[in-house]
Symmetry: C2
Subunit: 345 residues, 2 copies
């Protein structure tokens, strides 16, 4: 029952102990464990054995202090209960650990202030690089990165300005494709359930793309037909309900992401509106569930796992001194499934 750990901690073996146990100097022990070929093979082995013997675990902080490298990458993400972010962070983490790096993850509730604070904390922790989501950040955040001259990758969004390193998709373009697909099916009356556009360039771009595609065929989108909602199923249900009450008469709903679309779908089902006969619904992201629903959800495939992997790979490459294309665009194809169909007469 008694807890003694605070003092016991000090007894951990350090490199000096390993050195003593194997009869070499601190320097040699250090080099031996680093697999340096400056040390003779059998000495190396002797040191390794001693280390195992003692259960030696290197002290990361000390090493970080000496090398000015923490072998740690920070990531600042929105809440991971959106599976796209969960997948990306998982992929990122896997990719990093393959190279001996560890992921330091911070999450924030789509709040720029919290995001800034989290980023600052990560920098203090000495991350060697940073992964951010999207381009919308507190200007102070960019200044911080600048001052720390820390390499970072923007994910999901693309910086056409060519300034930031980034790997992502064109949300605007993909959204245009969605709208065109619905237009081609004969729809003329649209509603949009957008994600919250404040501090979220992806949500803005998706909305803009849809607007633009409709406008190019002379179709307007009155504000009563547009609702912003948090990225969640329940919010999608509520949003569709409001739209149906405030401005009925539309035959297609373009949603800012899949959870919103699934919400819209569930709301339709609850109200006896058949999909796609009476109402077409399109999502964005292609979460796993989208393919498994009946009817399957028409959506845009945003390869979140790949974004995570590539962001990690790019950052590692840069840390290794390699050059990397500043902008990496990943295609986000429209996946047509069963929730979109010809407009009713």
């Amino acid at each position: 029952m008694l807890e003694l750990w605070p003092m016991a901690r000090s007894s951990n073996p350090k490199l000096a102990d390993v050195a003593r146990a194997s009869g070499v100097s601190l320097a040699t022990a250090s080099r031996a464990l680093a697999e340096s070929d400056l040390v003779r093979a059998n000495t190396r082995e002797r040191v390794r054995d001693a280390a195992n013997m003692l259960g030696y675990v290197p002290h990361g902080a000390a090493r970080a202090l000496a090398t000015r490298r923490s072998r740690t990458i920070g990531a600042v993400f929105p809440p991971l209960d959106n599976p796209i972010f969960a997948k990306a962070t998982h992929a990122l983490s896997q990719e990093l650990s393959r190279a001996g790096y560890t992921l330091l993850l911070a999450t924030h509730d789509y709040d720029p202030g919290a995001e800034l604070a989290a980023t600052r904390a990560l920098i203090e922790r000495g991350v060697d690089g940073l992964v951010l989501v999207g381009m919308d950040h507190d200007p102070e955040l960019y200044r911080l990165l600048e001052r720390a001259s820390l390499p970072y990758e923007i994910t999901w969004s693309l910086d056409h300005g060519g300034y930031h390193h980034c790997v992502g998709v064109s949300h605007r373009l993909a959204s245009v494709h969605v709208a065109q697909h619905l237009l081609d099916l004969g729809h003329r009356e649209f509603a949009v359930i957008a994600g919250e556009t404040a501090h979220n360039d992806r949500a803005r771009d998706r909305l803009a793309g849809a607007r633009e595609a409709l406008a190019s065929r002379g179709i307007g989108l009155p504000s009563s037909r547009v609702r912003e909602a948090p990225f969640a199923v329940a919010a999608g249900m509520a949003a569709l309900a409001r739209l149906l009450e405030d401005a009925p008469g539309f035959t297609a709903v373009i949603c800012g992401n899949d959870p919103l679309a699934i919400g819209a779908l569930l709301e339709c089902r609850a109200r006896g509106i058949t999909v796609p006969d009476q109402m077409s619904i399109a999502g964005f992201d292609d979460v796993d569930l989208a393919a498994e629903l009946t009817p399957g959800l028409t959506t845009v495939r945003v390869p979140s796992t790949e974004i995570g992997t590539r962001a990690g790979r790019r950052l590692l490459a840069r840390l290794a001194g390699k050059r990397v294309r500043r902008m990496e665009e990943i295609m986000a194809p429209l996946i047509v499934r069963g929730t979109t169909g010809p407009a009713p007469d």
Copy 2:
């Protein structure tokens, strides 16, 4: 285009610079920024101003080395694309950052070896404490924790042995409730889609609970009526399909978690089997989606956010030297919704 960051890095202001700029010694500067009342208020202010001026960011590794505290907590989780883990890590992260701690997150694909490696990496990074999921771990992992005398919390599971600090629910008991509920509805022929029980005590306990409850009313569960599957919607669909082919005739399916149950539900829908009239389905976890489906999914509410919050709070308390109940059990009530109903005749 040219990248110069590797060298630029060295120019970051250090505490010595702050000290010089504010005309005090290193020691005083350190104490001033630590808000120590050993330093006069106006000196403190002078130092703070200089720090802001220079854009000083403390060097975490150096501090960790000096204090033997990293203000970092490690967590080793299964993939976060299961929303229950996403929620828990998010809650954990929030709770920790409230106290100035940062979360160092590692994920593994339900692989004990990878889990061990990840844990070792976290310990090297100097985490002050660790959060683990469940009790099933490589024995070496426990040995590692022991040697490092690192405080840790087991989440989700309960250690009735009273050895590990833990916060979780009784999976066995909750599963008994599920089975009893179905028995009370008149079901006598059952199938179970369990999560993969290898290296997963929660999956095992859930399965055992169901078995036990059925057995106590004299109902057996032939192995043809039990399938193990990865915790995912698609796997649930496939599993139900196999069960229907191999051993039809059951009227209720007990699923190891909600994604599996949702998969089973979708498979029923695809095959024209009505739920709950022809088939009752129960899940486990109560993910957000469970409530929003029609019919709503009958399931067990496992408060994952709360688990995350409490684990963080407990760990922080222990790090602050406070005593904490070794085991904290959270209730996991059965939530009856629309996917379970009376057995067909």
